[in-house]
């Protein structure tokens, strides 16, 4: 950051489901400072009733995502100097999700779609069985590994304009998760999941704009995962295995 900046001019969205507006705060600049640090400073020093969400502060839990200067970010790992415009910072609740209060959104739809896309592991073995040996070189495992580090932060979900336009669309995170499970040979619900994700709100609504990929803090590529799902279900259609 420019050393000349001594105080940040921070606009924070305050309000609830009925509406709200931005309020400005002057926040002292630090040499090393994350956006979450800024929000925390405001709550502790200026606005005790400010509501926001965080837990781990190290990019693991996925609870701290907000819109920062118009873009979705994981705030605990976003340095102010990376996103500052002049000395301005505008912080708002994530797009595409209803607001509960201030910076906290209601993530019910996001997680409902996660389970709606069958983003749940269905075991085929019990604890009495031996642990299945999975080779890390197995092609399906390689595909799953590339997509597996999702922290459910909903950054991609709020970057996706198809979610904005089509409330039924399952969205990048849920479909990316479904893709990892389709490539998990221990999972026992492949054909059921394939049916769910090829339905009306499923993977075929994706327009491949890659906004999800551009913003995913863990550099995952939901666009590629969704393209993989499209191929899988097209293939199963031609094999006639749709109703297996």
């Amino acid at each position: 950051m420019d050393q000349a900046v001594e105080a940040l001019d921070v606009k924070v969205w305050r309000g609830n489901a009925k509406g709200g507006s931005y309020r400005s705060y002057e926040v002292p600049a630090q040499r090393s400072q994350t956006v979450l640090d800024v929000v925390t400073w405001i709550q502790q020093n200026a606005e005790p009733t400010l509501t926001y969400r965080f837990a781990c502060r190290v990019g693991m839990c996925g609870s701290c995502a907000m819109m920062v200067n118009g873009e979705p970010r994981w705030t605990c790992r976003t340095h102010v100097k990376k996103v500052l415009e002049g000395r301005h910072l505008e912080i708002a609740p994530l797009r595409n999700l209803p607001v509960i209060k201030d910076l906290a959104t209601d993530m019910t739809a996001f997680f409902d779609k996660w389970t709606g896309a069958e983003g749940v592991f269905h075991p085929t073995a019990s604890r009495a069985d031996a642990i299945a040996p999975i080779s890390p070189e197995d092609p399906a495992r390689v595909l799953a590994n590339e997509a597996i580090e999702c922290i459910n932060c909903a950054v991609c979900y709020s970057a996706c304009d198809t979610v904005t336009a089509n409330p039924d669309y399952l969205g990048p995170a849920a479909l990316n998760r479904a893709w990892t499970l389709q490539n998990d040979e221990r999972d026992g619900a492949h054909s059921r999941r394939l049916r769910t994700i090829s339905g009306g709100g499923g993977c075929f609504n994706c327009h491949s704009h890659q906004s999800c990929m551009t913003y995913c803090p863990n550099e995952l590529n939901p666009t590629a995962s969704i393209a993989g799902l499209k191929r899988l279900s097209a293939m199963s259609f031609f094999k006639g295995g749709r109703d297996r």
């Binding site: 200067n69 118009g70 873009e71 979705p72 970057a159 304009d161 327009h207 491949s208 704009h209 890659q210 906004s211 551009t214 913003y215 590529n221 666009t223 590629a224 393209a227 499209k230 191929r231």
Partner: protein, 114 residues
């Protein structure tokens, strides 16, 4: 109004181009079919319409149509490749090439039209 930042990305713009060109072509199509259908009863009717195509402004409009068609074609080929071939990280380069190729083709059309 300010365009949201995530919509200023190359690939997001590519998807907008694909949508707008597709929409425009779909709206043009009934007119196109109607005009050709004129030849059904009288070739003179079609000819009377085709006279219009001698005007420079109409030639320009035709060039825009060729541009829209090429944009939709080459942009669409990129999307088909994205969906059906193994992932390539060079999508921005491909999207830009699709636009460049479309301009090349439509300039070619314009030059042969004038």
């Amino acid at each position: 109004m300010m365009v949201a930042k995530h919509r200023r990305d190359t690939l997001r713009i590519a998807s907008l181009i694909h949508r707008v060109s597709g929409l425009a072509l779909a709206l043009f199509l009934p007119l196109h079919f109607y005009v050709l259908g004129l030849a059904l009863n009288d070739a003179a009717g079609l000819d009377a319409f085709l006279k219009w195509t001698d005007y420079p402004l109409v030639k320009f409009a035709e060039t825009v149509l060729v541009l829209l068609l090429s944009l939709h074609l080459f942009g669409g080929l990129r999307l088909l490749a994205l969906e059906f071939l193994p992932w390539s990280p060079r999508q921005k380069a491909y999207a830009a090439s699709a636009v460049a190729l479309s301009f090349f083709v439509s300039v070619g059309f314009f030059l042969s039209a004038v």
